[in-house]
């Protein structure tokens, strides 16, 4: 059992403006990343020189040597990157940060994502370097929407989930984005009619079922409760952060779709859910608000089931009944607008929103929120999750 003073917490939140893909031509991805980390330190009341650890995940281009050089960080003594594709490991970066501050390897760890796809490769396009491509690209399976779509199609077929249920995920995100000035889609209304009429990307996924592609950066500072006492920001406790694949899942839908057949339309989060709830010592009933990784609408439905908020195959009816709405729902989700409508920062902006809810600072604040679940990825290997608390 960790002594209270050694418990890990988030003490600083920093982010740049978010823009649509290609929106930053005046500043580099590295610069944006440095700006986000400096903003997080300022929010915490921490001298940037005191940052002695940096962590990110999956293919972040801003590696510690560049950051150290760019920001003149004098004492980087812990650096790591969690494995997995895209944003699956977003919350795993917190797990690494927690391990670092609790072991004494570092005292103040900056966890971050910097993402300017306009300056490198677009995530939604074909990536020739993807391992296992021989079984995918010759058959037209080039990019994440195409990879995830058959899983969602099968899920809808097995459980009678309707297109409107997917649409509710998009509409909820947009409604929350309207209250959030940081959200890229803050001024863009969306109705069910517009959703249903939007163009087909990869059936059953329509345009608004797919996350945006954005440029920007965001970061948090992680330390121990003991050290947080000397800082100005209200600490947000990390009750647990976990990172796990379902047994036998392998590459799953970003591979040849040979995950266990009974779990095919089930999202790959059952294991990480068990792990994160078990270590945090809480149950789904204790969750006041959740930030559910929304790369694709249908996978949010599967996550609601995997994380135990409703039974297998019940998420369509669950969202249709209004449970996930900020107004009137008992489990508001994606209160910043999420990836669908705030920005797609590979999951990391969901961690900031989770922390804001615990600090009472969200633009869609859930009154009295004490425990927030944040998830990283689903479908793709290997998803992660974190539970944040007061």
């Amino acid at each position: 059992m960790t002594a209270i003073r050694d418990e890990a917490c988030i003490v600083g939140l920093g982010e740049t403006e978010y823009r649509r893909w290609g929106g930053f031509q005046d500043r580099s991805e590295l610069q944006l990343t440095c700006e986000a980390i400096q903003a997080a330190a300022a929010d915490a009341g921490l001298d940037v020189d005191d940052i002695d650890g940096v962590v990110s995940y999956a293919m972040d281009r801003n590696d510690p040597a560049f950051l150290q050089d760019a920001m003149g960080l004098p004492n980087i003594r812990f650096a790591s990157q969690a494995w997995g594709g895209g944003g699956a490991a977003s919350c795993a970066s917190l797990q690494h940060a927690v391990a670092a501050v609790q072991s004494g390897a570092a005292h103040y760890v900056a966890a971050f994502r910097g993402l300017c796809q306009g300056q490198s490769a677009r995530y939604g396009k074909f990536n020739a370097a993807r391992r296992g491509n021989n079984f995918l690209a010759p058959f037209g399976m080039f990019s994440p929407p195409i990879m995830m779509a058959p899983m969602i199609q099968r899920y809808m077929y097995e459980y009678g989930v309707k297109q409107e249920h997917l649409g509710e995920i998009a509409l909820n995100a947009r409604a929350n984005a309207h209250r959030n000035p940081r959200a890229v889609m803050r001024d863009r209304p969306l109705t069910m009619e517009t959703y249903l009429a939007s163009r087909l990307i990869a059936s059953p996924l329509r345009l608004y079922d797919c996350c945006q592609e954005n440029d920007g950066a965001c970061a948090v500072i992680v330390t121990t409760l003991e050290r947080a006492r000397d800082l100005k920001a209200r600490p947000v406790r990390i009750l647990a952060a976990a990172h796990m694949n379902t047994p036998g899942w392998g590459a799953g839908p970003v591979g040849t779709h040979n995950m266990p057949i009974e779990d095919y339309g089930a999202g790959n989060c059952a294991s990480v859910a068990r792990e994160v709830f078990g270590r945090a010592g809480v149950t789904p009933k204790d969750i006041d608000v959740a930030q559910i990784y929304d790369h694709f609408s249908g996978l949010v439905l599967m996550s609601l089931e995997n994380f135990g908020f409703c039974g297998r195959g019940e998420a369509g009816d669950f969202v249709a009944d209004g449970h996930i709405r900020w107004e009137g729902g008992d489990l508001p989700i994606n209160t910043s607008g999420g990836h669908l409508s705030e920005a797609y920062m590979h999951g990391f902006n969901l961690i900031l929103e989770g922390a804001r809810q615990i600090r009472g600072e969200s633009t869609s604040q859930v009154e009295g929120a004490e425990i927030c679940l944040v998830t990283g990825g689903s479908g793709a290997p290997a998803p992660s999750a974190a539970i944040l608390g007061v």
């Binding site: 074909f126 491509n133 021989n134 037209g140 399976m141 077929y157 087909l200 990869a202």
Partner: protein, 140 residues
């Protein structure tokens, strides 16, 4: 007519999957079967995930395929794919091979004709140099 324009890359066999593609070059779809526990696996891998044995056989799959799931794609995420839109990507299941699945395409079918659970027949498509590709048609 080929299902995709020539710009779409064919397989470039690696040390892990070269045997699979060498069978495809002979119009044979063969899956790996563990010589120790008898379980099938795909994609090719050096070790059986169930019993960790490395010895294996390659067993031919002929007419056991079924449409497990699919997507109809209508956006170009690969430069040169535009003329093929909309196209389908199928997840083809082989029930008598421990349900291994192959990512492929159903040729000669309109999107509305794609039905989960339908029986499929294997066909081979010659895409020029390199191995032939296993694709499928709806069974009569």
């Amino acid at each position: 007519m080929a299902y995709f324009p020539p710009a779409v890359p064919g397989p470039e066999p690696t040390i892990e999957d070269a045997v699979f593609w060498s069978h495809c070059a002979k119009s044979e779809l063969r899956f790996q079967k563990c010589a120790s526990c008898g379980r099938f696996r795909h994609p090719p891998s050096p070790i059986c995930r169930y019993c960790r044995a490395t010895e294996h056989d390659w067993v031919e799959a002929r007419d056991e395929a079924e449409l497990f799931s699919f997507t109809v794609v209508n956006y170009p995420s690969f430069s040169g794919i535009e003329p093929a839109l909309p196209y389908n990507v199928a997840i083809v299941r082989f029930p008598s091979f421990d349900n291994v699945r192959l990512v492929s395409n159903i040729v000669g079918a309109e999107p509305r004709e794609l039905l989960i659970g339908s029986r499929l027949s294997l066909i081979w498509e010659d895409i020029g140099p390199g191995p032939k590709l296993p694709r499928f048609r709806a069974s009569a």
